[in-house]
Amino acid sequence: MKERSRFTHRVSAPIRGLGHRFAFLALVVAAFALMLVGKADVAMMERFRTQVTDAVAPILDIMSRPVATANEVVAEVRVLGVIAAENRSLRLDKERLLHWQVIARKLEAENKALRAQLNYTPAPEASYVTARVIADTGGAFAHSLLLNVGVQPGIAKGQAVVTGDGLVGRIAGVGDRSTRILLITDLNSRIPVLIETTRTRAILAGNNTNRLRLIHLPPGSSVSPGDRVVTSGHGGAFPVGLPVGLVESVSDAGISVKPFVTRDRLEYVRVLDYGLKGIIDGSHPTGETMEGGKAQP
């Protein structure tokens, strides 16, 4: 028995080795082919990606729940320690906000009156869908999230995703049970923005770090650290005025923007639906090149 197995091994090992080598080479070729196809047919790859993500989404959903619970417990305990100080600062905040409320009421009334005089058409109100983050694709290579909602009214490719702090990203793909978000910090993200005070237009580009770069500013425009950056609504993809970040530094190397939303704290996000059908539309051919990240300014 032992003799036989040794003999079989002696004969079969080189054959198996050859087989392995062939399988390895075939798979390497397959990997390169996938990269090329991914470059050539973005839509097909996106469909494939969506199907796989859909299949895994329920598992991710279940796996991410204990993590979320643990985080909540940690947060609760941490809050207990600073409850008195927080209470004090909240009281101060309340007084300050009450003062602002008076001003806001006055402005609202004034605004209403002026709008009535001008026959102003208000911007469409947004409806939104709240979803839970079930995956944060780790690593330095891509910045995206997966949400636990699938195709339904109010969820479509290209829509803005926000939290209370500001813009998170936009929807890159929708499946039956999952939705992929391209974060604003991703290499492929290009967002038309405005400097809030000067109304200077620019494009905010991600580069896979946690800072954003402001590019394609008109010549002669001035930007200084501390300026707020908001979405401009150009291109029709996003509504106007969603807060994105603060200008952090201006130098020869470029203008760096710190986003309001930090990736680590994302648990629930809102998908905004303004009924906008902009240039980022899955069915449109130019929309596809937009998806590929080669957004023309």
Partner: protein, 171 residues
Amino acid sequence: MKPVFWSRLDLTARRFTPIGLTVLLVLLNIMPLQVPGLAQVMPLLPLMSIYLWAVHQPDLMPVYAVFLVGILQDTLSGVPLGVYGLTYLIVYATVLWQRRFLAGKSFVVIWVGFTVVAAGAVIIGWILISSLHSTFIEPGAMAFQYLISLGVFPLLAWFFMRWQRAFLDHV
């Protein structure tokens, strides 16, 4: 007849655990852990797993599984398809090629082997993604990810060693 069937089933199930664990690590790698700064420098858990099984029991981690794990990670993490697939194939082939220097050696040797292999993997991934996007990606986060992976490696290696002793000693 029956006992044979059950023991076969048991054996098959055990033999699949390396692949199963690696898939689990792919999923674990993209959990939103909400630890500040972690998402960007998440340790390369599936890479460690493939390296470790290639060193210890390559017959339980066949080459097609390595490829499929890579494609799964590509798909879920949103990088161009084929990047992790190719990277893991190269890692796997490198380990099998140099296996006589690694298999059965002390832990430190295996760790040092990982520092070399992981560096290669990170650089290959970086080159692939930079060229596929035709831009220069900041290497800072990647360097951190690499260093953190080196630090986490002993933990996973210990866990897999225990696993191997408990479930895979006789397969």
